[in-house]
């Protein structure tokens, strides 16, 4: 029997990010692991109810734990084609077996790792002006990510 409380999801948008290179690495933290700075160069987004571009600036400063789990802390802005600015704040995890992590870390052009070979999930909040797009600021979203040579691509689902 299906759990009646199981969250139901609805596809909301996909965000494609081109990330600046090189990322900055702070290694050998006293508490273990590494801290990174990954800045966003450009990007775009599209879904059934909205589309637009990613504003330059912003990025993420993930903590890569001793167990090689990436813990995201991303903040940047989307601009809808109608001009509305939307803030996205993401936390989440990326992890995989060591050989997959190593491949994801140094992807070469043309190298595509199947997304089911790793876990890349985001817990996401949006903020925007009251009005047409404020449904974004009233729902929880879950993102499913892919790591590409040029950056990240994430598909976001609204929790109904």
């Amino acid at each position: 029997m299906q759990d009646p409380h199981m969250p139901q999801l609805e596809f909301a948008l996909e965000i494609r990010l081109t990330l600046k290179k090189p990322r900055l690495e702070l290694n050998d933290l006293p508490q273990g692991g590494r801290r990174l700075s990954v800045q966003i160069e450009s990007g775009n987004f599209e879904g059934p109810r909205l589309r637009g571009r990613i504003l330059p600036g912003g990025g993420e400063w993930p903590h890569v734990r001793e167990d090689d789990v990436f813990c995201f802390d991303a903040r940047y802005h989307l601009q809808e084609d109608d001009g509305t600015i939307i803030l996205i704040q993401n936390s989440g995890y990326r992890h995989a077996p060591p050989e997959v992590q190593e491949r994801l870390w140094s992807l070469r052009p043309g190298d595509v790792v199947p997304p089911d070979a790793y876990y890349f999930r985001a817990m996401t909040r949006f903020e925007t002006a009251p009005g047409k797009h404020d449904w974004l600021a009233r729902h929880v979203f879950v993102g499913v990510g892919r790591r590409l040579e040029t950056g990240n691509s994430l598909r976001y689902y609204k929790v109904m």
Binding site: L29, Q31, S37, W61, E127
Partner: protein, 153 residues
């Protein structure tokens, strides 16, 4: 016995230049975002420059406070990367906050921050086990922020 009154040592001055801010209304209140064009940290205990664009998010509160939440990566003179996260308040005043939201111009305002650092193990790692407060002034495009280390005394 009362706890000791905290004592402070000046650690460094953080001088930042910002790009043009963008402002937007949101369901949380008015917001602003700033990115760093360049910056330095200079002092007896630290010498570094800002190595990324940073990311400063603000909520422009109706009571004239700009609620500040920032991250940035610094690069010390010896090449070590230092991560700085800070939250705090800019005392813009009701009129100053309104002008900032409407025009992007911020008249010189006091700020108070609570910084947190990640560093690699080594000469900078005292910053990962010390308390800090930061006091300074921010105006249009510029901020000078003095960072104080809470001593063990």
């Amino acid at each position: 016995m009362l706890p000791a009154i905290p004592k402070f040592d000046h650690a460094f001055r953080l001088s930042l230049k910002f790009r043009e801010p963008f402002r937007y209304p949101s369901t949380t209140g008015h917001r602003a975002a700033l990115n760093i064009a360049s910056g330095t940290a200079k002092g007896p205990k630290f010498d570094a420059h800002v190595a990324d664009d940073g990311g400063e998010l603000m909520v422009i509160r109706p009571d004239g406070i700009l609620d500040w939440d920032s991250r940035m990566m610094l690069c010390a003179k010896d090449g070590a990367m230092i991560y700085l996260r800070a939250r705090g308040h800019i005392m813009a005043g009701i009129e100053g906050a309104r002008t900032f939201f409407e025009t992007g111009e911020l008249s010189a305002s006091k700020l108070q921050l609570s910084p947190y650092f990640d560093t690699p193990k080594g000469p900078h790692d005292w910053m990962t086990r010390s308390g800090f407060i930061a006091l300074g002034t921010i105006g249009s495009g510029l901020a000078d922020i003095d960072v104080f280390h809470v001593t063990a005394e």
